[in-house]
């Protein structure tokens, strides 16, 4: 049975259409990331799943049950907000315990005196307390239970938000950019923690982010959204190696994938500014195509007059320690190309040096006029 099933969801705010018929299935134990630039509709989709927004059309099912008419509380989802949305006037323990308090007690049982005197209410408070301790222990925030959120660091607040989400064992976790308010170092550590939390919770996670590193490192599958549509859903490796759309190829990967505008020749090769690249069978002559290859698939060597396919001049060098980036101005004009090499090779290259450029055979991706991938047919 599917964890989350989204069918043909559309949403418009006034004249602005934010979602154009999104369909998506998330497995019951899957970690799925909605990845895309800001304004692509990913947060809106998440909020529709949570029940905080109503879809104009389409339906949402959780665990096989349609939830379109249910309130957020009735959907049994937990959500972690970008701002964490902790209640500032409650202690950490009260924050984590609130979802349990609301579910296990009646309004009159929450009155201060009754909570202490009425045996059943006291039992409820006891069970809440032990569950709060358990969730806090899982996230190592037991020692802060009596503090207020303002007395915690960003990383600690984020853990409190996670604890509040996991304390009542929801059937789906929804996370809206939960790491974007943390500093870079903490974010890397928190990635591993969230992935670990997912393994232990054993339920579906839907995670919204604009950060491809988060998407690539944590997800079982990534759904790449742009302009209110899902362009591709695939495991991280596949979405990087085998993008279905030029926009996917350009969004995923840092530095950005290299692209050249080309035209198919009579002999099946492709004319690009400053050279000719080999094409794939099945292209028709005169077609405009985009030729794309990752920086690590651009091989460079000193220009010794040999007949290379492409030539260029080195304009900028970046040494990252583990990698070395060469920014090359192609002799035929167009955008700068980037080559990723090892520091050993990179340091031997001088600024302004002419180079011969060879996209690695079999690593060149072709896209048609509207950006759809042209796959080589065997």
């Amino acid at each position: 049975m599917s964890g989350v099933s989204i069918r043909g969801v559309t949403k418009a705010f006034g004249q602005t259409r934010v979602l154009h018929g999104v369909s998506l299935d998330v497995g019951p134990r899957e970690f799925l990331t909605l990845l895309g630039p800001s304004g692509c509709g990913k947060s809106t989709l998440l909020r529709i799943i949570a029940g905080l927004e109503q879809a104009d059309e389409g339906s949402i099912a959780l665990g096989g049950q349609r939830v379109d008419s249910l309130l957020p509380r009735q959907r049994d989802v937990a959500m972690v907000f970008q701002s964490y949305a902790l209640y500032p006037y409650m202690t950490v323990a009260e924050n984590i315990g609130l979802p349990l308090l609301m579910r296990r007690t009646r309004p009159w049982q929450r009155l201060p005196l009754i909570r202490r005197l009425h045996p059943q209410s006291r039992a409820a408070s006891g069970s809440i307390e032990s569950d709060v301790r358990r969730a806090a222990a899982a996230l190592q925030i037991e020692s802060y239970l009596d503090r207020k959120p303002a007395q915690l660091s960003g990383g600690q607040r984020q853990r409190v938000a996670l604890a509040r989400a996991m304390v009542r064992d929801p059937r789906v976790f929804l996370m809206d950019e939960p790491l974007s308010n943390l500093d870079a170092k903490l974010r890397v550590a928190a990635r591993a923690e969230i992935a670990d939390l997912h393994r232990r919770a054993g339920v579906a996670f839907i995670y919204v982010t604009h950060d491809q590193a988060e998407a690539m490192t944590m997800s079982d599958r990534v759904a790449l959204m742009m302009g209110g549509e899902i362009l591709q859903i695939a495991p991280p490796g596949q979405i990087y190696e085998d993008p279905a759309d030029l926009r996917v190829a350009e969004f995923i990967g840092s530095p950005k994938i290299n692209t050249l505008a080309g035209v198919v020749r009579t002999d099946g090769g492709i004319d690009v500014p400053g050279g000719v690249l080999s094409g794939t069978p099945g292209l028709s002559q005169g077609d405009a195509v985009s030729v794309a290859f990752r920086p690590e698939h651009l091989q460079v060597e000193p220009d010794n007059g040999a007949s290379g396919v492409l030539r260029g001049i080195v304009r900028h060098l970046e040494n990252l320690g583990s990698d070395f980036y060469l920014y090359i101005e192609p002799s035929g004009g167009g955008e700068r190309l980037i080559a990723r090499t090892t520091p050993d090779i990179g340091q031997s290259v001088a600024l302004g040096a002419p180079l011969v450029l060879r996209p690695a055979p079999g690593r060149v991706l072709l896209f048609d006029r509207v950006g759809r991938r042209i796959r080589s047919r065997p």
Binding site: A50, R73, F81, Y87
Partner: protein
Amino acid sequence: MTATTALPVAIERPSRSTQARAEAFAAYVLSAPAIVCLFGILLLPTLATFVLSFTDWQFGAPTLRWIGLDNYAHLANDRVFWKSLSNTVLYVLVVVPASVLLGLGAALLIEAGTSGRAFYRAAFFLPVTATLIAMATVWEIMLHPSVGLINVLIEALGFSKQNWLKDPDLALFALAGIGVWQALGLNMVLLLAGLKSIPRDLYEAAAIDGADGPWTRFLTVTLPMLGPALSFVLIISAIRSFQVFDTVAVLTEGGPNKATEVLLYTMYQEGFGFFRAGYGAAITVVFLLFVLVLTLVKARLAEKRVHYS
């Protein structure tokens, strides 16, 4: 600055302290007008009032005599003063809860509404912008025993007419009603600002956590988040209603039979009606003590809420 930091410490020190002294001098010169105004307009008159309250000075008299605590001893036995004090406290106890609760209700309704927000906001705020003296005259006509709109309405509903401003049992409450009418708008605007500053995220988190009924949501999110604004509004309303004067002076002059005698009106009568300035000063000191206590409560509350941000 950058040049001096490079110099050796021995040379840097004297030059630095001269510079610091010059800066301090400039700071005092520049803030002198503000300091003079602060003392001249705010602190000295307060101190003068305090000193006068220990004298028998008559307004306009060339001499005065130090009489120690005589004015205060007299106050303790003055039936008019006690009546005035208890009337003022009663007035505050009616106006503050009513104007704060109604202001909160109006703010919640306006915030929850989808249309006409600006209209309602402006409408409720109108009494705040109006001159109370002028409006008091309008109220006098509204409350007129025979032709007043209020009695006409009351009669239409089947109740008997009341002589609002001449009935000792009703006069203070009639004034309190006007006080609520006047204070409600400001309270509403302040609370509306407080409501707007509550992050929407919190309501959404509450909806997912299950605190989504109107009453639960109000108790879980709105009220605690409104705490700082609410305590501010409470204290401000209390101080402002302690200062009630205009309506008393225009409509009832403390009557009938001292039923609407309030602190500031008594002080005004003593000081400027009977020219007993020393005695009036003593009443002012009592009044200032009440305001001081309220201000201290407010400061304490503000301190307590520090962890909110």
